[in-house]
Amino acid sequence: MGCQHLEELYELWLLGAIPPENSLELREHLARDCPHCRARLRDAAQTVYLLGLAAKPAPPPARVKAELLRRISRK
């Protein structure tokens, strides 16, 4: 497969932390539909999801839901 050296990049690339010039090879692999890179990207998305949930949940004010439903009813 020849892409094990990209192992440390998938999560950071999904996060947008890798400068474009440093992700050229990874993007080329994905553009070629590399099965290993596709599988690793799905795995990496789990870690990125988990990192997003490191933020403490907070109940939004009730008026936000009311406004959302009002906007939907207008559509």
């Binding site: 440390e8 999560e11 950071l12 690339w13 999904l14 996060l15 947008g16 932390a17 890798i18 400068p19 440093n22 992700s23 993007r27 994905l30 553009a31 290993h36 596709r38 599988a39 690793r40 990207l41 799905r42 795995d43 990496a44 998305a45 789990q46 870690t47 990125v48 999801y49 988990l50 990192l51 997003g52 949930l53 490191a54 933020a55 403490k56 949940p57 907070a58 109940p59 939004p60 004010p61 936000v64 839901k65 406004e67 959302l68 439903l69 906007r71 939907i72 009813s73 559509k75």
Partner: protein, 236 residues
């Protein structure tokens, strides 16, 4: 029971214009999305608008949204992060903060300036609106979107996301185990959308050191997540 409906079923009902499905999805997941929004955005007002926009977008797109077996909740959380970062980048640098500052946020004007300068020219299509319809989505912070890969090609399965949700308390402890410099670098990437050179500038550390910290942090969380969730795949 509606209370236990899988999110994917709720999304299918939303596609049929079932507002109760949206209400149920919102009630279940809005706190985690809002928590993420308040971590990223500088005011409660902005977080509330962004929260509405994400759910409104999901409602609007649900009839044509094909996740191809991918997790609806993962789509929601990852889209929320990208939308919040887009909004953060588009925010006027010196806009007044009308809401409460988010908990744990650093005094970060320098970070905002670095981010604004790094974002480059802004696409008008990505600018948030204060009211009215949901903005057109442009996932600047999601490289896979930027290069034309549909999220459905890399979204985790609902079962994988359910495992993470079930073990979230333990996984939070994993993240808390990171050494402080690694965690700080990771937070700047996750919640500020900074790239490695910007993180190095913000932390006042050499780029090579920050790059190593970030990779060590991600590798640690990835390996612990796989171990906790038992999802290590031999072919990965």
């Amino acid at each position: 029971m509606n209370e236990t409906s899988p999110p994917e079923d709720l999304l299918a009902r939303m596609a049929e214009r079932d507002e109760t499905a949206l209400t149920e999805l919102y009630d279940r997941y809005a706190p985690r999305v809002y928590g993420l929004m308040t971590q990223i955005l500088p005011s409660r007002d902005a977080a509330e608008e962004a929260l509405q926009d994400v759910f409104l977008r999901l409602w609007s797109e649900s009839p044509n949204l094909s996740l191809k077996g991918g997790s609806t909740v993962a789509w929601l959380v990852l889209t929320a992060r990208t939308a919040a970062l887009d909004r953060l980048r588009a925010a006027p640098r010196n806009a007044p903060d009308t809401g409460k500052p988010r908990a744990g946020r650093r005094a970060d004007d320098s970070v905002r300036k670095a981010k604004a300068s790094a974002a480059g020219p802004r696409d008008p299509a990505s600018r948030p609106t204060r009211s009215g319809d949901v903005k057109p989505f442009k996932a600047e912070g999601t490289p896979a979107n930027a290069m034309g890969l549909a999220p459905s090609s890399w979204l985790p399965d609902p079962e994988e996301i359910a495992l993470i949700d079930d073990r979230l308390a333990l996984l939070h402890k994993v993240i808390n185990q990171l050494p402080k410099p690694q965690r700080q670098a990771l937070e700047l990437a996750v919640f500020r959308g900074l790239k490695e050179p910007e993180i190095a500038a913000e932390m006042g550390e050499p780029l090579g050191k920050v790059r190593s910290s970030l990779r060590a942090a991600v590798t640690f969380v990835k390996h612990r997540r796989r171990a906790v969730c038992g999802t290590w795949a031999a072919n990965i």
